[in-house]
């Protein structure tokens, strides 16, 4: 049952929306990716460049899929392409391509400023001198009109050859096409400098597992600290066909009223998808308003904003810290078995066990083992992983309020009473796209991390709020100045991570407090992009945008 009537249901024009907004390609059979950053020297040639690739841009039209989790396709669905292509533009890029000043002046201030200028808000100035260690490709983002400023992002995602674990050849072919159009026609340049990896693009790849029998490679949804990533993503109206939406909205949409037990959580009737306007421009949002967007409406509608963030994971530091902390944690927390203690500590940092099972559903090691024994079937288990709230764990004895996932998606935690509304949280949701990266150069320097792609209608209200208030501050998690134990910046060295324990009558149950946390994740570059609709992209390529 849905409160939305048939005639009120938003039917998204999928062919007008770029495919990477609605879909996380990485999880849908495209485990390899590349981000190519371009600078436009000549607006006219820039528009011609876009024209050249316009027909190859991947839209959100659903294709046939063999993935059991993928939304069902229309009967006339196109075949899956071997490689996808999507474009996004910085503010400087839109200006360079000749988008009228009147339209540009209606863009939000944070987009005008760009991500680098917003570093103090995002915590990206930590550790000291962090901005100087950004990849070369971002060095010219400091001021408007930089000679090598990033203007266009071309995002490529591709299938993988399971025998070699490498991308299918079409990825190289498309990359080469972009290079050759740049070289042959001029006016657009590929910018260089992506850390120790390939020079003219940011390489991305899901982590791979090799089947010992066949020798074939299989992508696994792990990030480099070893956690399953990308489990829960917001579900919004129109994103999925009704029958998919009915299942997916549970735990990933919003609930109304008061949820008390697991049965109520699992009930589809208690959940609604989030408002489309939280993620796409041109639709009403959770405040029942149209999100502010630049005119003409055709330019903004079905577009969105995207933050690109290259987040380096200091895996050795993380592992060392965990190794060092486990014995004391085990002693204070009263866990005798070292494996259990280690797994528990790792889970407390994240809010989920490393395989993604939420602490809210499996409160200790034994319950985790039991959970996995009960839900062996992957399809059932996967659904469970998003279906929980924190009502019966107000003080965080199972899942610390300051743990990563509870911070970035507090669910019912900010309601006036446990288990009540998510209204405050509904305005701070973000779609997370992206893939891990891992590169080593000839001299043996290695960098690993995640390229995060964050989509939302307002970068300031949604992404920046989550980053500033929930990741890099602790007020809403009852954690004072403490930052997220995993992703947080560390502006001072006395930040802690408190792991509460269920208090017992006999005085047992002291919390364990992690201290002297190193900064485990550092930003190595990024920018704010506008992801236009296909109509808007067409308007840009032909240079006809009339804001009057």
């Amino acid at each position: 049952m849905s409160i939305v009537g048939e005639n009120e249901r938003i039917a998204l024009r999928l062919a007008d929306i770029q495919g990477n907004i609605l879909n996380a390609y990485g999880k849908q059979g495209f485990p390899k990716g590349r981000a190519i950053f371009l600078h436009v020297d000549d607006g006219k040639k820039g528009r011609a460049f876009l024209e050249e690739f316009y027909d190859r841009v991947t839209t959100a039209v659903r294709w046939k899929s063999d993935n059991p989790y993928a939304p069902k396709a229309e009967t006339s669905a196109p075949e899956r392409p071997p490689v996808t292509l999507n474009f996004a533009f910085t503010f400087d890029g839109l200006a360079a391509l000749g988008v009228p000043i009147k339209t540009l002046s209606m863009m939000p201030a944070e987009f005008l400023q760009g991500m680098r200028a917003r570093a103090p808000i995002l915590g990206d100035i930590s550790p000291k001198g962090a901005l100087d260690s950004w990849d070369e490709v971002w060095k010219d983002q400091t001021e408007a009109g930089g000679k090598n400023a990033v203007h266009i992002m071309a995002l490529l995602n591709s299938k993988m050859n399971p025998v070699t674990g490498n991308p299918v050849p079409e990825l190289d072919e498309l990359t080469e096409d972009i290079r050759s159009v740049c070289n042959a026609k001029g006016g657009v340049r590929i910018l260089q400098g992506h850390g120790v990896g390939a020079a003219d693009y940011q390489d991305m790849s899901a982590r791979l597992m090799q089947d010992p029998q066949t020798g074939h490679f299989k992508p696994v949804p792990l990030e480099h600290f070893g956690y399953v990533d990308g489990i829960s993503d917001p579900v919004f109206e129109g994103q999925f066909p009704p029958e998919d939406e009915a299942v997916r909205k549970v735990g990933n949409g919003k609930f109304k009223g008061h949820l008390k037990d697991q049965e109520e959580i699992e009930d589809e009737a208690n959940w609604e998808p989030l408002a489309t306007g939280e993620f796409l421009l041109g639709y009403p949002d959770e405040a029942k308003e149209m999100p502010p967007a630049a005119r003409p409406n055709l330019f903004s509608t079905n577009g969105t904003f995207m933050a690109y963030r290259k987040l380096q994971e200091n895996v050795d530091d993380f592992d060392d810290y965990i190794d060092k902390t486990v014995p004391e944690f085990a002693k204070v927390y009263g866990i005798e078995d070292e494996t259990a203690a280690r797994a528990t500590l790792l889970a407390k940092f994240s809010g989920r066990w490393q395989d993604g099972v939420p602490l809210a559903l499996a409160k200790n090691y034994e319950e985790w083992v039991a959970f996995n024994a009960k839900y062996k079937d992957d399809v059932t288990k996967r659904k469970k992983l998003s279906r929980f709230i924190y009502a019966d764990d107000e003080h965080g004895a199972a899942c610390p309020a300051s743990s990563h996932t509870r911070r970035v998606h507090p669910r019912d935690m900010l309601g006036p009473t446990p288990g009540s509304g998510t209204i405050l949280v509904n305005r701070r949701r973000i779609l997370r796209r992206g893939l891990p990266y891992d590169a080593t150069n000839d001299t043996g320097d290695r960098e690993r991390g995640i390229v995060m792609l964050i989509c939302c209608a307002s970068l300031e209200r949604q992404f920046e709020f989550v980053q500033q208030q929930w990741i890099n501050y602790g007020m809403d998690s009852n954690a004072g100045n403490d930052t997220c134990p995993m992703l947080g910046s560390r502006p001072t060295d006395d930040l802690k991570f408190v792991i509460p324990h269920a208090t017992q009558a006999d005085g047992e149950g002291a919390p364990y407090i992690c201290s002297k946390l190193p900064q485990f994740v550092e930003t190595k570059g990024g920018a704010y992009f506008f992801v236009p609709s296909m109509t808007s992209l067409r308007m840009m390529t032909i240079g006809v945008i009339d804001p009057t």
Binding site: E328, V332, N481, A510, I513
Partner: protein, 315 residues
Amino acid sequence: MPSIDSGYYFLTVLAPVRSAWANGEENGRAAPIIELRKTLAQMPTAMQTPHSHSSGQISAFSKSTRTHFARFAVIDRLGYNGYEAADPVLDTAKLAKPSLARTELSSPYLLFAAEFDAPGGSRNYDLAVYLRELWDVMEEDLVEIFSNCVAFDREKISTAADFIEYIKQCEIETTMPFNFYWAEPPRDLPTLTIKGLVAGGVFTGAIMAMVFYALFSRFGAYLAIVPALIAFLGGAIGFVAMRFKKYGDRPFPAPPDGDLMSVLKGLHVQNTFGQFVIEEQGADAAELHEAFGRYLDENQLTKTKPHHPAGQVYR
């Protein structure tokens, strides 16, 4: 005494800003309002962020042992609330008064608002003690700020006593103090009882009724009942209202350990004890006992010092 409540003084000062320097004083100086705004803009705040900590600059108020909050602001003009809605009926009857519905200030004002400890509960005494301390620790800053205000002449205001006198002339009563140190409502607050209110109300009403009855009885006994009844009600309501007002005007008692030095001590204990817990996690009982002894020695819980530095978030 709304300016004093629960052991704190809520000071509100409005000093008119000079419109120009006196003849011969210009010497190429910018106008007083410009100088004032420049001085205020450059005053360091408290160390509230990691960034302001690393700047090494801290508000001069941190040298005071009593200031909880202090702020300066320039009130140049009042907010504009729009026109009063037109009334078509009055307009047609030509009874509408022309109104711009706005208030303008003849000069800008410097607002100085501060909350500080007032253990004495006396407006005169506690204000004088506070301002004297301020004058001692930040005379130069105060002179630089207030000399942009009307009648603050360096020759005339050279001592703490002069400064106190000046501030008192500019002080207005704070009618809505904001204070949050009472975690739970204080016990033994003076309370009004229904019994007392009824008795007092009836008594006052009866006296009033008798007076009015006597006054009006020459018009006939029946006619005098009406004013007597009204007088009774008026007297009774008046009594209750006065009791309410009297009790409402009484300041809340000071909360325990709410003065600045105790708060700073509290913060110190919170910080150091948190650190102590972290360092001793997993320690055995004997070790813990010894360490706690050392902790008590070092931190002197019953003494003022050591305490958290004033005006700093981090240590």
